[in-house]
């Protein structure tokens, strides 16, 4: 089957029920997307499909119905997305393992809601677990990114 990831078209030969997460990681070598729980309880595997934040561990390869964007497609170290720049400026990461998913979730939120309230941020981000406890900085970074994108 064919998948478009970060603007590149790929031909993959996988079972229809292989989760997108593992197609990305093991078949395409795109490792910014992380495996954390496999049951949509942590959000580490969050990617965008058609601009929507989804848990790639729950999306079967055969059900992918649009272009996939991973953290690598959001921005790069030399050309960071506003959300990534805010994450760096606020120095959010500790171990950093959950942060790809956190940033993908935040980017999807801000693309749909340019200036979310605290409650809207909480609702959108609450499914993304951070075991290191960087939540205070995640909240600050989402707000900083919203502000930067406004300007």
């Amino acid at each position: 089957m064919q998948l478009t990831v970060n603007g590149t078209r790929h031909e993959v030969d996988v079972e229809g029920d292989m989760p997108l997460l593992w197609v990305l990681r093991d078949e395409l070598g795109i490792t910014g997307v992380k495996y954390g729980c496999g049951i949509a309880a942590c959000g580490a595997c969050t990617v965008h499909i058609n601009g929507e934040a989804v848990r790639s561990c729950q999306v079967a390869a055969e059900d992918v119905d649009g272009d996939v964007v991973t953290i690598e497609g959001l921005g790069t170290p030399d050309a960071m997305h506003a959300v990534q720049a805010a994450w760096a400026a606020e120095q959010v990461a500790q171990c950093g393992y959950c942060q790809s998913g956190q940033m993908m979730q935040a980017a999807a939120l801000l693309s749909q809601n340019a200036s979310p309230t605290d409650e809207e941020i909480y609702d959108a981000m609450n499914g993304n677990l951070c075991r290191c406890g960087t939540y205070p900085r995640i909240k600050a970074a989402v707000k900083a990114a919203a502000k930067a994108m406004e300007g």
Binding site: E15, A41, Q94, G96, Q99
Partner: protein, 747 residues
């Protein structure tokens, strides 16, 4: 702090080493020093100045012997060296270095020594060095105990200073300018006339020189990095998804494996039928390993799927059948035969309680999983006479030793590449994953086997935080706490953990009473007794170890007595406080929170708690509101004294994370075993704190202590008791057992 220190040969550098720059530390002086571990791997044209600094034509590499699991220790260590070496932080490469005895962890040894000598302290009487020598002998290159900063603060700056001065010596010969007229800046030695020579160009020349050792370290006024906000060296990578972790590593020709283990922790396997699994797409092999099977495929998910299809007959669990049995074993341990330690026995507790109105309470702390978000993993390739390992580990030397035991290939032929870890909290002080990957790789020599645990296997086969039970008794007199007798029962985490490494640990286990026996409160009659239960579930070090349960016990017991006395929780702690550094921490948190008693009006309340752990006094005030949806944590104030805050940004982040970790587990986490099988498998049933529940956390770092200490663990122990006290103030519900969600709802 604040004095200019000279690198004295007699303190922690020895006079000469095998090569130019072979620098050894501390007690090596009276034992044969280990050879400089970097020499073996050096190519022609490279010079190793110390075990911490490598310079070649490509640049400067800081060899940081402590593993980074998210606490920023690569960054902090790099900053300590850069402070003296005059090189830009961003120009530095970081390499965790080869496992070697030379990286023994002196600060952990000091922590252990502290216990065996009463109050006077280990340093004065030299005990630190004796135990340090033992640890060095074992060659414990361990990352743990919040010890990296304590261990490295002087050593790493000294390494940087020694390197700098030796580079100047080499440049002096090259430029024909006397050393005292040379200066260093941004990776270069510069002469008065402006001519300069890069460190990289001096690599070969430096290799032939004796290192300059007697260098005065810079005074705090001269510091460029220490104490100032810095950008973590890994922050861009971790903000763009480009940071590689162990689970992302790829080696040419590797296969993907997972394990299916006896659901009962530590149980064996009788037999298995892999015929269905072997017929599945991509499956390459299903092989027996200790306690289960290894499933090898061409893709991680295919290995996961195939593992589900393996039919296995498991051996009986070697654990008590029910949680009641676990708790019963702790209850039964409160007897003279099982007394493990009584390091604190001030005044006369029994006399004070005779005939008095004695208040009693019992407290419980459950098993907890470490559950870092990156499931554990390792790549191992076993060749005919060598082994190569890629993994995130805190114990690289144990890894080498265990691979030698499994393969018969000697440890010096085992290369360990330590990779970035997606969290640990103590999880990666265990190495089952490497042993299992080795067992699989033994059965397919020459092929790199990447073993990734499924989350469910990881959580149910974790070596959990200890279960613990405490009994507190006490009396009050004239509005004051008059006596406090605290007994704590738990299995020995040290025996369990080190036992898996083949080490026996004689003597009492300080962790049974850590966070309780050494607290700086002068209750006139005060006794802390540790009781050792037999081994139940296998357990391991969990962020803040013994203090993670005992900080709750000590504070919760004291809190009840303070209430009985009718005293204010903060005022009474201040009155009892016997240590000036700890007192300032309590005063700070009181001032920050505007403390005016526990009550905050209808449905609201605040609580305070204090624990000194890993030498760091840490006080926290938690404020809560009892809402229609349950308890909401509004705000937390934290003050802690680490002697010197190396990086205020990383400090704040570590403290906030420690508070979230302590609160989240106290709120809703436990691991319960039925027939040895953990009932919680994933983050749906072992959740911790979510973003919407996270309060504002205000942090202040104090610098009154005379030792530089780490902050990774100390914020954890006071969080749970401060929360319990706040909930009591808001609701009247006294919480004696974690997790608190058994008794109250959280919004």
């Amino acid at each position: 702090m604040g004095k200019v220190k000279t690198i004295a040969r007699r303190s922690f550098l020895i006079g000469s080493a095998a090569i130019a720059g072979g620098v050894a530390f501390g007690v090596w002086r009276y034992k044969t020093p280990y050879a400089n571990p970097l020499l073996g791997g050096l190519a022609e044209g490279e010079a190793a100045l110390t075990p911490y600094v490598k310079i070649d034509a490509q640049g400067v590499t800081l060899i940081t012997p402590r593993a980074d699991k998210g606490q920023g220790v690569y960054h902090v260590q790099a900053a300590l060296i850069a402070e003296e070496l005059d090189i830009d932080l961003s120009a530095i490469k970081v390499d965790p270095g080869p496992p070697d005895k030379a990286y023994w962890n002196g600060a952990l040894a000091a922590e252990a020594a502290e216990f065996s000598v009463p109050a006077a302290g280990a340093v004065q009487n030299g005990t630190e060095h004796v135990l340090g020598a033992v640890m060095k002998f074992i060659g414990l290159q361990i990352t743990g105990g919040s010890s990296s900063v304590a261990d490295g603060f002087d050593k790493l700056r000294a390494a940087g200073a020694s390197a700098r001065e030796t580079l100047k010596l080499a440049a002096s010969e090259r430029l024909n300018v006397s050393v005292d007229r040379l200066r260093t800046e941004n990776g270069k030695v510069i002469a008065p006339d402006g001519s300069e020579v890069a460190y990289t160009e001096l690599a070969e020349a430096v290799a032939k020189l004796e290192p300059v050792r007697d260098v005065a370290l810079r005074s705090p006024e001269q510091w460029r990095y220490i104490g100032k906000p810095m950008q973590r060296i890994d922050i861009v990578a971790k903000s763009t998804g480009t940071q590689g972790y162990g689970i992302d590593a790829a080696v040419e020709g590797m296969v993907h494996a997972t394990v299916l283990l006896n659901p009962a922790q530590g149980g064996g396997i009788e037999s298995f039928d892999a015929s269905a699994a072997e017929a599945m797409r991509g499956v390459k092999a299903v092989v027996p390993i200790t306690g289960g099977v290894g499933v090898v495929a061409d893709n991680t998910w295919r290995a996961f799927q195939a593992a589900e299809a393996v039919e296995a007959v498991w051996s009986e669990a070697r654990m008590p059948a029910t949680m009641d049995d676990h708790w019963g074993a702790l209850s039964a341990a409160f007897n003279a035969d099982q007394q493990d330690s009584r390091q604190r026995d001030d005044g006369d507790v029994e006399a004070a309680m005779a005939g008095a109105d004695v208040h009693e309470a019992e407290f419980r702390a459950p098993y907890l999983a470490h559950a870092p978000l990156e499931p554990i993993n390792a790549i191992v390739r076993v060749d005919e006479d060598a082994v190569e390992v890629w993994t995130g580990t805190q114990i690289p030397r144990f890894v080498q030793a265990n691979i030698e035991k499994i393969t018969g290939i000697t440890a010096d032929k085992v290369t360990v590449h330590v990779l970035m870890m997606g969290g640990s909290f103590g999880h990666r002080l265990e190495d089952d994953v490497v042993r299992q990957a080795t067992e699989i790789a033994m059965q397919m020599r020459g092929t790199p086997v990447k073993l990734t645990y499924k989350r469910e296997q990881d959580m149910t086969h974790d070596y959990t935080r200890q279960i613990a039970l405490a009994r507190a008794r006490g009396t009050v007199k004239n509005g004051r706490v008059e006596s406090y007798d605290l007994g704590i029962a738990m299995p020995s985490v040290t025996v369990s953990q080190m036992g898996r490494q083949g080490l026996s640990m004689p003597g009492p286990d300080s962790q049974i009473v850590a966070g309780a026996w050494e607290q700086p409160f002068a209750v006139p009659n005060l006794r802390v007794t540790g009781y050792r239960a037999g081994q139940l579930a296998p357990i391991s070090s969990w962020r803040s170890v013994g203090a993670s349960s005992n900080g709750f016990f000590y504070n919760a017991g004291l809190e009840e007595l303070i209430e009985k006395a009718g005293a204010d929780p903060l005022e009474e702690r201040l009155r009892l406080c016997s240590d000036p550094v700890a007192r300032k921490v309590l005063e700070a948190v009181g001032e920050m929170s505007g403390w005016s008693g526990s009550s905050m009006g209808e449905g609201r309340g605040r609580g305070v708690a204090f624990t000194r752990s890993f030498g760091v006094p840490c006080a926290e005030v938690v404020e809560v509101t009892n809402t229609e949806d349950g308890i909401r944590i509004d705000k937390v104030y934290v003050a802690a004294d680490v002697g010197r805050v190396v990086d205020p940004v990383n400090f704040e982040n570590q403290v906030q994370g420690g508070v979230v970790f302590g609160l989240g587990h106290a709120m809703n986490c436990e691991i319960t075993y039925v027939g040895g099988v953990a009932e919680q498998e994933n983050f749906d049933s072992f959740e911790g704190m979510r973003l919407a529940q996270c309060p504002e956390i205000v942090v202040r770092g104090l610098e009154n202590g005379d030792k530089v200490l780490g902050i990774g663990e100390p914020p954890v122990p006071p969080a749970a008791p401060a929360l319990a006290a706040a909930i009591y103030a808001a609701t009247g519900v006294r919480l004696l057992e974690m997790p608190f969600s058994k008794y109250v709802d959280f919004a």
